[in-house]
Symmetry: C5
Subunit: 86 residues, 5 copies
């Protein structure tokens, strides 16, 4: 699993059926690289989160038909952003 920081919500006009009603967040890794994660937990911008990839992402979404390859699995209590960015 990876450590990401939530940047903001992701708004899309046309969207795949199984993603249609889901919360998507833009997240960044320690190098600033952006990805998009499904959020079944309710993370806010600035939160550090543990993200789950591959087939486990679909299970973590609560329904394996949900077409996600990255899902937020937990909110990290304390994280040292400065040492993370290196």
């Amino acid at each position: 699993m990876q450590i990401h920081r939530v940047v903001r919500d992701m708004v899309t006009s046309k969207r795949n059926f199984w993603l249609a009603a889901k919360s998507l967040r833009v997240v960044e890794d320690c190098t600033g690289n952006l990805e998009v994660a499904l959020d079944p937990i309710g993370a806010k911008p600035g939160d550090f989160v543990v993200t789950i990839g591959v087939s486990a992402a679909r299970i973590a979404a609560g329904n394996p038909k949900i077409t996600t390859d990255l899902t937020i699995g937990g909110i990290i209590d304390h994280w040292d952003e400065e040492s993370w960015r290196g």
Copy 2:
């Protein structure tokens, strides 16, 4: 999920059976690296899209027998290309 920009259509003469009637697009990431994504939504060149990988890509294609490992899952409404390219 990743953020990609649609570059153009991908034309192939000989193609796997399960991909045969599908729309394929050449997409690029923020570094200009090219990949090929199945497009069940109808994105146009220049659109910024959310792409879905691994086993979720097959489900997002509408039929898990479709042999894709990257499928366009949504068209992003507004995206700041300049900050994306960094």
Copy 3:
């Protein structure tokens, strides 16, 4: 899916049962990095191909028991090698 160029055949003396009778090709990406792909289509050295990864690679091989993680899914009609190598 990725864009690869076929380099040559891959010859192996001892091989996994499910790969035993299959055509394997050495392929390269735009940086010259080499991988090995199963080829159910019949691509020739120099051909540019679309390759399919993860679980979709097994389906594209025609039988999900075939132990491939990269399968050639189509031959690209025209590809600009110079702009690809950047």
Copy 4:
């Protein structure tokens, strides 16, 4: 499978149901890049471990419903940290 060093425990306040009662460890690779692994074995900070990814990570967790994409699969007896870091 990858070779990781256990750095410390990962504490999260809100967590996915299937991860709720599991031990998570922050692990680093030879470049210092951090990831999070589920630990069904009981590794301690400083241990070098073999980590298992993709769908095998769920099986290694003891229950394929457990939403992990990286699971500690073994503790390495002796490992030369200096040559590993290169």
Copy 5:
């Protein structure tokens, strides 16, 4: 699939149940990066091998319950190490 060179055996004291009786090898890619692969074929240090990843790795291990994400699928007859390392 990837091209790896076998470096040595991997010895672990505590190990996941499904890996317990299996041969594990430390392998390196063309940049010297180390990974660990399950070896159902019997490769020796110095051999160049084709390795199989993701879910296909479990099938190549002979039993999809075996928790591997990288399995040796064949021994390469002749490989030019110097051009491989670039």
